[in-house]
Assembly symmetry: C2
């Protein structure tokens, strides 16, 4: 675990405000501890790149308009669908199409990179104590 | 390097046509050898996820409308801008904003994940022998 001072410097060159600075995923993950609370690390047109730490079972939900990509960086993610589940190891990704009910489940802590439209709410059609409306931006 | 028989099965479950199958990046990279010829591995709304092998110097170009994300999976990528360059190691990403001239340079072979609008042409405003208009789809 890196110190907060180091972790606070996610970009390649400190103090620059452009999006042309790089993001180091290890430092991004080291900069926060909460589960199920995605952080924004960049924008690509109207999509956002996020990092999240997952552990345990999330709520069943779907997104009406948004496809959602999960790329496992460390740990293991089980994506449950109503009729089956897919287990993902580091270096594996899955795209959950809009309208598809899913429940992410991480048997142990899992770090994921997310690509999804800016409009995506983490809990989709469900609103509960896990809903995060305003995401922190790391880069 | 995996055999082509293995490499041909990129999805979690063979023979299924949905996008809910996973993509294994190692197998995706093992399934082709050409440099500077991105392969599509998925769609997220109007964006595409691509994998590419880079080696050497690409052409200077920009994209008028498209931001472009490069995530280094293996190797090292140097993203050159007109006024500086950024060196990226595995686990590091950079987003090149639309309109920004850039030249990717890979001192040795480098494997990258790309995330960009479907409309993105690999050589941007430049058309030459490296332009690839129709990309192969791996998943």
């Amino acid at each position: 675990m890196e110190s907060l001072a180091v972790a606070g410097t996610l970009r390649g060159r400190e103090g620059e405000g452009t999006r042309m600075d790089k993001v180091n995923l290890g430092r991004a993950f080291a900069s926060f501890a909460e589960h199920w609370s995605p952080r924004i690390v960049g924008d690509v047109n109207d999509m956002q790149v996020k990092v999240a730490k997952l552990q345990g079972e999330f709520v069943w939900h779907h997104h009406d308009q948004e496809d959602e990509l999960f790329l496992v960086v460390t740990g293991r993610l089980v994506m449950r669908f109503r009729d089956r589940e897919v287990s993902l190891e580091p270096g594996e990704l899955i795209i959950v199409p809009r309208g598809t009910e899913h429940q992410p489940f991480a048997p142990e802590e899992c770090h994921v990179l997310l690509f999804e439209p800016r409009s995506t709410l983490n809990t989709g059609d469900m609103e509960n104590e896990r809903t995060v409306r305003t995401l922190e931006r790391l880069a």
